[in-house]
Symmetry: C2
Subunit: 191 residues, 2 copies
Amino acid sequence: MKYPNGLNKDYKKNINYKNRGMNLEDDINLANEYYLIHNIASIYKKPTPIGIVKVDNSGIIHEAYFKTPSTTDYNGIYKGKYIDFEAKETIENNFPLKNIHEHQIKHLNTISNMGGIGFIIVSFVKLEKTFILSNYYLQKFISSNIRKSIPLKYFEDYGYIVNYKLNPRLDYLKIVDILLEGENNEFKENN
Amino acid sequence: MKYPNGLNKDYKKNINYKNRGMNLEDDINLANEYYLIHNIASIYKKPTPIGIVKVDNSGIIHEAYFKTPSTTDYNGIYKGKYIDFEAKETIENNFPLKNIHEHQIKHLNTISNMGGIGFIIVSFVKLEKTFILSNYYLQKFISSNIRKSIPLKYFEDYGYIVNYKLNPRLDYLKIVDILLEGENNEFKENN
């Protein structure tokens, strides 16, 4: 299997991105460390799923492959709520939907239906803008569009921009607060 | 690094345990599939964290090693609540605390303090008995004992036995219902 979407970020980072500065994943991981230290939230990136073929007696793996993830990259707890999201960078001025697996989109919807907070964080690398789009508006776009990518305009209209600040650089839970406030309204509109 | 605790279960299973029948992890995974299909809960096992050293152009990994997990094995959402637990088998008639990493114990406590439901599921293989012990009683044991293993009696007194049934075989959320009911009382006692 070739690299699945977003699965080889850690590896690529070590090889190519070393001098590039922070990427979205680094920013989220640093924010999560900040949130944990300050008892604000406990949110972690799930390890990349790996299928192991060969391993020796000392526990060194000699053959393995990347597996397709069943769920999203990040989950955890914030203000007593279950939080679940996928984070993606795009170099386009739109967000190609092929960057998220279909079962990840379905997973986010399951989470919302069960009372959790599901969303995507998308970083438009060239524009240096990062948005959060709630699961509600993600599903709304998919169900009412045949387009294969979400235009930037849709993020501007229905998403929330995450402003960069000193510490944590990407304080994305500030936006999650807005999603939490709007949760009941969106739920009503949805049902 | 040698195999960390519980990290090589998948691998060991394929090698040694093939004809042994179901183990605790299989039972939990099957229960989780059942819960998901029936819209009861969305709970997943996190992938084993792997450090990748060498990977070729086709995405095949040629050198990697097992990393120590930061958190517990399982988390997800049930009845709108964040659920987080670690599952372990023991062949002893007690549960050696070295089977859980110290940061996993700390993680479970963080989750409880943040309003999530944290616990351990321990299967006593020889006795064919499986118990759930809430984070509350896990921490209580650790803080008031110098013993390096939790005796079966403690699970009998303060935990809940998970009875095996037809489908799902290990319906552990039935016990989580009891933890959810008792949550407020334990919280009061704790504070």
